[in-house]
Each structure stands twice: as C-alpha cells, then as structure tokens.
Amino acid sequence: MSEAWHHFIAGDLVALLSCTLAVVTCGVLGSYLVLKRESLMGDAISHAVLPGLVVAFMISQSRAPVPMFIGAGIAAGLTVLLTMLVRRWGGVEPGAAMGVVFSVMFALGVYLIESEALRDIDLDASCVLYGQVEYLVWWDAPKDPSAYLKLATYTDTDIPPALWALGAIFVIAVAFVAAFFKELRITTFDPQMARAAGIPAWLVQGALVLLVALAVVASFQAIGSILVIAMLICPAATARMLTDRLGTQIMLAGLVAGLCAIAGYFAGAKLPTALGAEHALNIAGMITVVAGLVFGLVCFASPSHGFIARAVRQRRLAERIAIEDLLGLLYRSAEAGETFVPIQPMHAAGMPVARATKLGLVRAEASKLGLTDSGRERAEGLIRRHRLWEGYLVERAGLRPDHVHATAELLEHVDQPAAIPTQSGDLDPHGKAIPPGPETDAESP
C-alpha cells in the first residue's frame, strides 16, 4: 500500500465515514421533521442533551459512551415531554414551546459545566457545538493491504468507537424508515385519521423522535450540534425542492446529505493546505456551508420548484396570453370587416407580432397583419370561451351585460374543457355570435 493511501486511511477514513454516516442519518430522519414543520425539534434536542451528558458524567465519572448515551437519551425524552407540557399549559405555539425548553435545558447544562464541582473536567460546551471530527483517527491502521480482509483488524485495533455508534444508528434509522414507511407517511400527513383507523400515531411518531434523539446524541460528539441541526433541515429542504414524492424525498435527502459530507470534508480538511494555507478548516463548519450552498443553488435552479423554473413558467404564460390577446384583436376586427390590421400600432402597444408570426398564427401583408388558418382556429376557441363566459356571468351570476367583459377577458385564457361554461344559446349578451366549439362538444353527455 502506498504511503499516501495509508496516510488517508489512518488519518481521514474514520472521520470521513463518521461524518457521512451521521449526516445521511440526519438527512433521512430530518425529512419527516421538515414535512411535519417541526424542524426546530432537532435544534431543541441537540441543545437540550447537554445537561444529560453532564449529569451522566457526574454520576459515572467517565466519558464512556454508554452512560453518555443514557444521560442524553433521558434528557432528550425530557425535552420532548416538557415541550408538550409547555405547549398544553402555556398555551403557546410549538416553536415557542421548544424554544423555551431547549434554551433553559442548554443553559442548565452550561451552568453545571461551569459550576464548582466540574470546573476542571474535560467537558467543554464548545465541543458540543462544533464537534471533534479531527480527533477521529485510526492511528494503528495496518500498512499491509491484506490485513484489511481479516476481521481481527477491525476488532483489535483502535478504531474510534464513535464510528460504530454512528454505523449502528445509521442502520437502525434506515431500517426503521424502510419498514414503517407507510405508517410514518400516514401519521406524519394525517395523524388524526391514522388514530381513527387504529394506527397508533403517538407510537410511530414517538419512535421517530427517539431515533432523532439517538442520532443527535451519536452525531454531535463527532460533528457537533450545529452540523446536526443543519443536516436535519438542509438536505430535507433541498430534496423538497426537487420532488413531490415522499419516497424520492427521503432518498434524495440522504443522497444530498452524503454528497455534502464528502464534498465538505475534502473542502475543509484537504483543500486549504492544497492551496497553500497553513491550517485546515473546521470540517463540521465546512459541511454546513456546503449544505447551505447546495440548498441555495437548488432554490434558484430546481427544475420543478426553483426560482428560475417559476420565472420561465410565468414568462411563457405571459407570452401565451399576449399572443391570444393579439389573435382576439385580429379576429374581432375581421368580424367588423377589416381582415388586415396595420402592424405599426400593434408594435407600439408591445404586442408580440414577431413571435406570433414565427409560430405561424398571423401573417403580414403590406405592413398589415391578418390571421392564418391555424391562427383563426385558435382565435375561434378563445372568442368562444370569452363569449360563453359573458353569457354565463349574465345568466347565472346575474351581472349586467356591460360589467362582464373584464372578467371574461381573464377567464378566456383558461382552456381546460372542464372549466368552460356550457353553451345555452348562439349569441353572447352583446348579441355577437359564439363561434362553434370543437366536434367533441356535441357528443359529450
């Protein structure tokens, strides 16, 4: 094995894997929090576990993972319970209830750490916030490649236990979501209906919150609570911009989270030194930045929900309406006997003459504009809808004939067959002929 590879395995592999596992777990579970509009729950739990950790340390006098887990788990459960109580008794909205509970819990943790009894122990609030990815090294990773095929290599060397904890929680979380996908879907979407159908929403959602708590506790030693919070929200929110299906949403969130972790890790750990800087950057911070950038990019450029896509759709709609208005104008003037209309005023009014010509809907003849056959066909449909709406508004909605034009002018652009009024006569309220509809109209029941 080359020196560079061994260096990577010993120095980076465990840290990279830990980050990725933690972040993907958060991404998958976070989707449900974001969809429930309870994103703050992750924030609350990740802060509120601090006093649990301190008390566990005070009792066990060690930083062994098991007592830490138990302490944090109890604190997380307490947070969820207190939040419910504050919500019920304090009569405040869920976000405020969580805010009250977790900030008090976190403050209690900070107070305990700073208090006399614990002043000189190795437990630091900033570790909880930023994590210690950089300390996750496999210092006795073997140099011989064949050693990696033996089980003993993994049991006898000093692989940081955080990796095993994160691996376990990752497997549990993915298995839980896969096994209870349908129960999670119904209890997240419509808990009342679920309960009425005898599906215990509190059990499913309680298990989910417990898993979030476990993931938070397992993660923050490695990656810190800021990254945990970011990862519970960012990848899920990113995925939501890309899909309208729950299954795809969950998988995309996991994928986005994983990619952010890998990209962020290298951008933080390797890129600065490669560019000549003296120190690497904080990896947890870098992953968070990458996740934020990805979310920003997707907000802007998502093909279905993004800003650009929306702008394009609006632009297309505006263009269609402008072209239809032009066709309507030409149709009405043809009705009045003037088949060709001077182009210049239409240009001046900003009507899309060039675009409509290109689409073959109108044609120019000696600086005048007229409808082509396909243009006439579309105009007939438009005028038909306009006059049917006028008739409807007068007959059914009871408006006066001179008050219906503006409304019909808007509604004429809606061309779904189900949204067009049925015909009751040959003339509109102003005595103008309603162009005949397509053949299928006569056949419909």
């Binding site: 879907r185 419509d190 299906r245």
Partner: protein, 274 residues
C-alpha cells in the same frame, strides 16, 4: 342492555334513547371538556341504521368535537360511545373518517392515489407494502369520485373541491359501514357538492350510515334524512323534517335568526324527505 333504562317511547328518544345492537352509533351521556370548560354536555342519541345524518348547530356548538370524541381522538370526561353495541376498539375496522380539509398540510409530497391508499393501510397491516390489489381498489375509489385522471397529481396542485373528493375517496377505500365526515361540503364547488352527495346517497342505498357535520341550513333538508341539532347539548334529534323546526332552530341558534327563519320555512315546506 342497561337494566336501569326504562322502557321508552319514540317521543322520549332524545332524553333517554334505548341503546341497541342494531344502531351503528349510540352515544350515551357523553360529556367533553377543554380546560374544565364543558364543550359537550350530557349528549345522548342513537343513529338508526342506514341513515344519512347531519350534525347541525352554531359555531362552537361542539359539532367536530362530538365526532372526534366518538372516534376516541379527544378524551371524553364522561359517557359511553358504542358502535353496534360494541366499544370502539372492536368496531374500528367498520368505521371510516373524513377529517376537515384544513386539518392536514396539502403541501405534503404525496399524490392523490397515495392519500387514497392510506385508507387501505389498516387492511394492509404492519410492515407490509401496499399491494397491486389494494392500489387497484384505491384507484376504483378515485374513479367513483371522478378523480381518476388526477390520481398521480401532487395533492397541493388540486383545487379545494378536488382535495375534498380525494378525502372522500380515501374514506371509501376504508370500506367501512359507518362514516364520520367533518364538513365535507365546506368550501367546495357546485360540481363537487353534487358528486359528494351522489356518493353519499349511493352509500346509504348500500345500507351504510353516514354522519356529517354540516353548516349549510339551506341544504340540510334536501340532503339529509336524519338530523342532530346540537348546541353543547342535544337540542333535537330525529328525522330532519321533525327536528329542524323553527322552535328548535331558535333554541339552538339563539337570536341570530333572520336567515334561520327562512331556512326553517324552507324545510317545513319541503316536508318529509323519505
């Protein structure tokens, strides 16, 4: 049967109804309170089989609360609810529920078909996937409410009326015998209202019982054959034409009555619906 319950005549039904195993829903002395303030007080009624029943009453009368308490979604302070003479837990699979449309987040990333499939979850069972047969059944329910073409559309991209139809289709997919519906006609277009009432009448013809919270007094008489007039207590219960009398309406709606007088008259003119 409770031995202390005296033998009753029909006229005494509202005061102390006789509970029977025939009746899809029997509510006895139900009291519900929020923060020690009673919302429902000593509510007592029976629903005859295969009726299409409206729960009517002013805002804050406890109409939705009554439904939720029957379904065990809100704890009752006192009283009993029985379905075909049995407790809720033994009758759940025979009960369908349509919550208020506003009670869920329509931005949720699921399609209309996904939502209707939720009605099958209880039949599918834990840890199993929704099979093709269940999906086909869900699709048939969507077709019944005229929504087959929109089955794969995300629910947020449907109109309010279409969303309500999706909820109705989900209840149909539950294949229940007793349906609770919370304001199924609220904020829907005329076409949807016709579609829904058509489906409800079909269900009734199949022998099923439907209980709707309803807010439109103008249509109670023509849509429903049985009505419960509620204002924290039961004001009146029975066939619609006998229940929605002007006297009862005044009793339950109090002074706000110009419109109600018209509604009462309209119902009186319509006479018995069946």
């Amino acid at each position: 049967m409770n031995a202390t319950t005296p033998q009753l005549t029909t006229s005494a039904l509202t005061a102390h109804p006789e509970h029977s195993a025939e009746s899809p829903l029997s509510v006895h002395a139900l009291t519900v309170a929020y923060h020690r303030k009673p919302v429902l007080w000593d509510v007592d009624f029976d629903v005859p089989p295969a009726s299409l029943m409206a729960i009517v009453g002013p805002n804050g009368a406890g109409k939705s609360t009554l439904i939720k308490a029957c379904l065990g979604l809100i704890p009752a302070a006192a009283g009993e609810v029985e379905f075909w003479g049995e407790p809720l837990r033994r009758a759940r699979s025979r009960i369908g529920y349509v919550p208020q449309r506003e009670s869920v987040d329509w931005d949720f990333p699921v399609s209309a078909l996904d939502v209707v499939c939720m009605g099958r979850y209880r039949k599918v069972g834990w840890l199993r996937r929704v099979s093709k047969t269940h999906k086909a059944a869900a699709m048939a329910c969507l077709e019944r409410v005229g929504m087959k073409e929109l089955s794969h559309r995300q629910i947020g991209k449907l109109s309010g009326g279409q969303q309500q139809r999706v909820f109705l289709a989900r209840a149909l997919a539950q294949e229940a015998e007793l349906y609770f519906m919370d304001e199924p006609f609220a904020g829907v277009d005329a076409a949807t209202e016709r579609a829904i009432i058509g489906v409800l009448r079909d269900l009734q013809r199949e022998g099923k019982t439907i209980i709707c919270v309803h807010h439109d007094l103008q249509t109670v008489g023509s849509y429903f054959d049985y009505a419960l007039l509620l204002n924290m207590r039961v004001v009146a219960v029975g066939p619609t034409s006998q229940t929605l009398t002007q006297e009862n309406l005044v009793k339950s709606y109090g002074g706000r009555l110009t419109l109600l007088e018209q509604a009462g008259e309209a119902i009186a003119q319509m006479g018995p619906t069946r």
